[in-house]
C-alpha cells in the first residue's frame, strides 16, 4: 500500500470556527482514490466537523466559518465560482444514523438523488438501482421487494440502502461519518466488508470512534486531537509504531 496515487482531495491549512470556538485547526491532509482513510480521535476532536467540510455540509449551519483550501481535483471547492450543489454530487456522504426517506420505497430511495437533481443518465432506472444495490451488497436481500417501504428494512440494511443511495449518484469521494455507530456487530461486519470492496473505485473517508474498525478497514489513518491533525500514516504503522507520543497514548488506551 505504499504506491503514491494521485490525490483526489487535499486540504491545506483547513480551519473551522463555530463562533469563537476553533473546532478544526490548520489541518492539511490528502485523500487518495483506491484507499480508505480513517479519521480517529476522542469525542469533540473535530473529526466530524472536518469531513463535513469536504462536501460543504456546513453551508446550512449559521455561524460556521471555514478557512483554508480544499482542493478536489485541483479546484478549491470553497472557491467563489463553485456551486456547492455540484460538489455534493461528486462527494457523497453517509451519516451516523441510517436516514432513508421514510415516505419512499426502497427503489425510490436509491433513485432519490436523481429526483433531487434531475441528473441525466443513459441507463434505465431499474438498471441504476440494481447496480447501486449490488454495489452496496443489498440487492439479494431486497430484490423481491423493491417497492416495499424503506422502514421495513433492519437498521443495518437501512444503512446499506443509504450507501446505495449515495453510490447511485456515482460520486468520486465517499464520506462515511461513523456509519456503524448505530448498528449491531453483525451489521457492522457487513458494512466493513462492503467498505473493503468499494475501496477500489472510490476515495473513502471514514470517521470512526472505534480504533479496531479503523485498523480493519483503512489503509491510512489520521489521528485528530483538539482540532489538530496529530499524525497521519499508513494504518499498520500508525497502530504499531506511532511517531507521536500523543497518538501512542490514545491507541494504547491511556485516555479517550
Amino acid at each position: 500500500m505504499t504506491q503514491a496515487t494521485a490525490s483526489t482531495m487535499t486540504t491545506h491549512n483547513l480551519s473551522v470556527r463555530y463562533g469563537k470556538h476553533l473546532a478544526v485547526d490548520q489541518v492539511s491532509l490528502s485523500i487518495h482514490s483506491g484507499q480508505v482513510t480513517a479519521i480517529i480521535g476522542p469525542s469533540g476532536c473535530g473529526k466530524s466537523t472536518f469531513i463535513r467540510c469536504l462536501n460543504r455540509m456546513h453551508d446550512f449551519i449559521a455561524g460556521v466559518e471555514v478557512d483554508g483550501q480544499i482542493l478536489l481535483d485541483g479546484v478549491d471547492i470553497y472557491g467563489p465560482s463553485v456551486d456547492p450543489v455540484s460538489i455534493r454530487r461528486r462527494v457523497g456522504m453517509v451519516f451516523q444514523k441510517p436516514n432513508p426517506f421514510p415516505h419512499m420505497s426502497i427503489m425510490q430511495n436509491v433513485l432519490s438523488g436523481f429526483a433531487f437533481t434531475r441528473k441525466r443518465t443513459s441507463k434505465s432506472k431499474e438498471e441504476i438501482a440494481e447496480i447501486a444495490l449490488k454495489n452496496a451488497a443489498l440487492f439479494d436481500e431486497v430484490k423481491d421487494r423493491l417497492n416495499a417501504p424503506s422502514g421495513a428494512l433492519s437498521g443495518g440494511q437501512q444503512q446499506r440502502l443509504c450507501i446505495a443511495r449515495a453510490l447511485a449518484m456515482e460520486p468520486e469521494v465517499l464520506l462515511l461519518d461513523e456509519p456503524c455507530s448505530a448498528l449491531d456487530p453483525i451489521s457492522t461486519a457487513r458494512i466493513e466488508d462492503l467498505i473493503h470492496t468499494l475501496r477500489t473505485n472510490y476515495a473513502i473517508v471514514i470517521v470512526t470512534h472505534n480504533m479496531q474498525q479503523a485498523a480493519r478497514v483503512s489503509q491510512v489513518t489520521a489521528y485528530f486531537l483538539s482540532g489538530k491533525l496529530i499524525e497521519v500514516d499508513e494504518t499498520r504503522k500508525l497502530f504499531t509504531n506511532p511517531a507521536d507520543q500523543r497518538t501512542e497514548d490514545y491507541i494504547t488506551g491511556k485516555f479517550g
Partner: protein
C-alpha cells in the same frame, strides 16, 4: 444432603410469623390513610371539574339539536329567506359558507404554507425573522372583530370590493393566517433534520429537498392544521357582520364580487327576531353549521390517525 429437620421447619415457620406481624405494625399508619383519602377527594374534584363543562355543553347542544332537527327538512335546506319563519330556508347562507370556505382555503393555504416554509427552512436568525414571528404570535391573539374592521377598511372600502364574497374570504384569510402559519411550522418541525441533510448531501437544492422530502412528510399534519383553521373561519360571525354581508338574500352568490350571506350570520339574524318560530329556524341552522364543523374536525382527526399509522416512527 442434610435432611430438613423438624427443628428447621418450626424455626422457619416462626420467622414467617414474625415477618407477618411486623408487616401489620408497619402496615398503614393514620397519616398514610389520611393522605390516601385526600388523594381520592382530589381526584374526584378534578373529575367533576372535567365533567361539569361537558354536562353543560351536552345540555345546550342537546336542546338546540332537538328543536333544530325538527325544523330541518329539504325545504329548509333549499329555501330562501322569507318574512314567514315557516317558509324561510338557509340555501343562500349555506352556499355562501361553502364558497367562503373554498375561497379562504385557496387564499390562506398557499400563503400560510409559504410563510411557514420561509420562517422554518430559509430565514436566518435575524431581527427581521424575530419581527415576523412576533407579529404572527400577536396577530393570533387579536379579536376577530378587529380583523373585520380591517377587512371593512381595506378590502370593502379602499380596494372597492364592496361587501362581496371575495372581501369576506380575504378577511377570514387574514384571520386564520397566523394559526395556519403556526400549525404549518409545527408540522415542518416534526421532519427530522437528518432527512434534510440526507437530501442535501445527495446534491439536492434546498428547494428540491423541501418539495420532495419535507413537504410530503409534513403534509398530513399541514392539512390537519388547515382543516382546523378553516373550521374556525366558517364559524366566525363577527368579521362577516362588520364587513356588511347580507342577511336577507333572495339569490345565490354568482361571482367573486357578488353579495353573500353565511350560516353564522343567518343564525345571528334569526336569533335576534322576537318570534319564537325564527328562533327555531336558528336552531335548525345551528345544527347544520355544527354538522359541517363536526365533519371538518372528524376528518382532521382521521387524517392525524391515518398519518400515525402509515408513517410509523421517524
Amino acid at each position: 444432603m442434610a435432611a430438613f429437620s423438624e427443628q428447621d421447619f418450626l424455626s422457619t415457620a416462626n420467622e414467617m410469623k414474625e415477618v407477618e406481624s411486623a408487616r401489620v405494625i408497619v402496615g398503614i399508619t393514620r397519616e398514610e390513610k389520611n393522605a390516601q383519602l385526600v388523594e381520592r377527594i382530589f381526584r374526584l374534584l378534578c373529575l367533576s371539574a372535567a365533567f361539569l363543562p361537558l354536562l353543560i355543553l351536552a345540555f345546550l347542544v342537546g336542546n338546540t339539536v332537538i328543536s333544530g332537527l325538527e325544523r330541518i327538512d329539504l325545504d329548509f335546506l333549499t329555501g330562501f329567506p322569507s318574512r314567514f319563519a315557516s317558509k324561510a330556508g338557509i340555501l343562500p347562507a349555506l352556499i355562501g359558507t361553502f364558497y367562503l370556505m373554498l375561497l379562504t382555503t385557496i387564499i390562506a393555504l398557499p400563503l400560510g404554507v409559504a410563510s411557514a416554509i420561509y420562517l422554518e427552512e430559509y430565514a436566518k436568525d435575524t431581527w427581521f425573522k424575530s419581527l415576523i414571528e412576533l407579529n404572527v404570535t400577536n396577530l393570533a391573539g387579536v379579536p376577530s372583530i378587529i380583523f373585520g374592521l380591517l377587512g371593512l377598511e381595506l378590502f370593502v372600502r379602499a380596494l372597492g370590493l364592496g361587501p362581496s364574497l371575495v372581501a369576506g374570504a380575504l378577511t377570514l384569510s387574514l384571520l386564520i393566517l397566523p394559526v395556519m402559519i403556526t400549525a404549518t411550522r409545527e408540522a415542518l418541525k416534526t421532519v427530522p433534520k437528518n432527512l434534510r441533510e440526507a437530501g442535501l448531501a445527495l446534491g439536492g437544492t434546498k428547494l428540491s429537498v423541501t418539495l420532495r422530502v419535507v413537504l410530503p412528510l409534513a403534509m398530513s399534519q399541514i392539512i390537519t392544521g388547515a382543516i382546523l383553521s378553516i373550521a374556525r373561519a366558517i364559524g366566525e360571525s363577527a368579521p362577516i357582520i362588520v364587513i356588511g354581508a347580507a342577511t336577507y338574500l333572495a339569490f345565490l352568490p354568482n361571482g367573486l364580487l357578488s353579495e353573500f350571506s353565511a350560516l353564522p350570520l343567518q343564525i345571528f339574524q334569526w336569533v335576534e327576531r322576537p318570534q319564537a318560530d325564527f328562533v327555531e329556524n336558528a336552531s335548525g341552522a345551528i345544527v347544520v353549521l355544527l354538522a359541517i364543523l363536526a365533519i371538518f374536525n372528524l376528518s382532521a382527526a382521521w387524517l392525524r390517525h391515518h398519518k400515525e399509522k402509515s408513517r410509523g416512527s421517524l
